[in-house]
Amino acid sequence: MNLPNPNELLAQLAAVIKPTLTANTVLVGMHTGGVWAADYLQPLLDSHMPHGSLDISFYRDDFERIGLHAQVKPTHLPFEVEGRDILLIDDVLYTGRSVRAAMNALFDYGRPAQIRLAVLIDRIGDRQLPIAADFVGAALPVPAHQHIHLVRDTQLQLALKLVDIS
């Protein structure tokens, strides 16, 4: 399968998102791919916009089955969540469970005025919760035995990658 170039997708996303920003908008990237995407988006949108990172490990619904993730990253939200317009960024929207966890996590920091979701890839089908993205880079079908996610190399270059589920 030919995968799109994430930089192009992010540039397209930025062009669509930019007119919708308010002075109250903050950017929140979800670890880890969403944080990289948010890092890339922020200067394209507004280099002064506050931006933070969110780890959802403590809010996942699969703790009973798989335990705590090996690599939990600190959440860093250097602004008040209360009353803000939050633009939540993730690399891939698939089952919707990560976004559910992210919304729960955000609400423990305060009551946002609004949460909108932007994703690089909307994986078609297999949604398990009533969740949809407001901004989509590309909608892609991905075979059930594969994962798609964003990777970043040491030169900070982004790429999309398909991985077989072992």
């Binding site: 780890d55 490990s57 403590f58 809010y59 703790f63 798989i66 335990g67 705590l68 090996a70 690599q71 939990v72 990253k73 600190p74 959440t75 860093h76 969540v81 209360e82 729960n104 996590a105 609400f107 423990d108 920091y109 305060g110």
Partner: protein, 316 residues
């Protein structure tokens, strides 16, 4: 490799009984996870739903305020149900055995026991006895181990010093009676601290302490020279039998930490103490409350470290 009763067959942590024998990767995982739990205390709602529906029993057969309270706060911030039992005032005084108590609490659907006991090995005994889904955390057993204290101490050191591989750490005082010192020494050496010193009179050092990989000093002035971290231990009067010391005043003179003695350490050295402190016995008030003291941050970090331990165990 000897069988480690703390580990599952896949090498993951099932119980936390002692730091002795745990691989560096497990310690680092606990410290990294604790780092993430620090941000939970910055939330408006200082709680995460990880252990919702789990019952954690704090079994304290020996008095404790700080440890029991921080375990309780940690469990509550993980959304667990916490039941505190101070057992010396309860069934044990009516003759029930330790394992009978544990069986009864297991029948009440306990998921985790946090155990403090005056007998070394008590937590091990409970861990060997409980059903496979139950986890045990040693919150201090006799003179043996106090692993979460050791972990919160190395977490504090990492917070202030960043790395372990270039540090000199001095542990001062009653090492003989101290489970805290044993856990600290295991944690520090496992994480790669190249020079761990113990400073104490001969009567307060266990036989063969050098075999734990530490440098022994009887002269505090020599032992503190150029260290990055000074860990003071509490003089444990309640665990002491017979006269190991001439007097408290004499002890303070030779082994109490004063500003003058602290000046021998590196200028950016931090001062730690596991609490409770005997002011004027092992530490002077001006040092305990001074700008190099990180004694209160230790307590705060203890919550995040205990959250990390409980959530890792519950998920394994």
């Amino acid at each position: 490799m000897t069988l480690n009763p703390q580990l599952n067959a896949d090498g993951s942590l099932r119980h936390l009984l002692t730091i002795d024998g745990l691989p560096r990767a497990i310690l680092t995982h606990i410290l990294d996870t604790a780092e993430s739990f620090i941000s939970v205390s910055e939330q408006e709602v200082k709680k995460v739903p990880l252990l919702r529906g789990k019952a954690i029993f704090n079994l304290f057969f020996e008095a404790s305020t700080r440890t029991r309270t921080t375990f309780e706060i940690a469990a509550k911030r993980l959304s667990a149900d916490v039941i505190n039992l101070n057992i010396n005032a309860s069934s044990q005084s009516k003759g029930e055995t330790l394992l009978d108590t544990v069986d009864n609490l297991s029948a009440m659907q306990a998921d985790m026991f946090v155990v403090r006991h005056a007998q070394s090995g008590a937590a091990h005994m409970i861990a060997r006895h409980v059903a496979p889904h139950i986890h045990v955390v040693n919150a201090g057993d006799g003179r043996h181990a106090h692993p979460t204290q050791g972990l919160l101490d190395v977490f504090t050191i990492r917070k202030y010093k960043g790395e372990f591989h270039n540090l000199r750490v001095a542990i001062v005082g009653d090492v003989l009676h101290s489970r805290v010192a044993r856990s600290q020494i295991h944690a520090l050496t496992t994480l790669g601290v190249p020079e761990v010193r113990v400073i104490a009179p001969k009567t307060l050092l266990p036989v063969g302490v050098e075999q734990m990989g530490v440098h022994v000093y009887h002269d505090m002035l020599a032992g503190l020279k150029d260290v990055d971290v000074v860990i003071m231990l509490r003089l444990q009067n309640e665990r002491m039998r017979g006269a190991r010391l001439p007097s408290v005043q004499e002890y303070f003179k030779y082994y109490g930490l004063t500003q003058e003695k602290l000046a021998l350490a590196r200028p950016d050295a931090i001062v730690m103490h596991p609490g409770p402190m005997n002011r004027g016995v092992e530490i002077d008030s001006s040092v305990a409350d001074g700008k190099q003291s990180v004694i209160l941050p230790q307590v705060t970090y203890g919550i995040a470290v205990r959250m990390a331990v409980m959530s890792i165990l519950a998920g394994n």
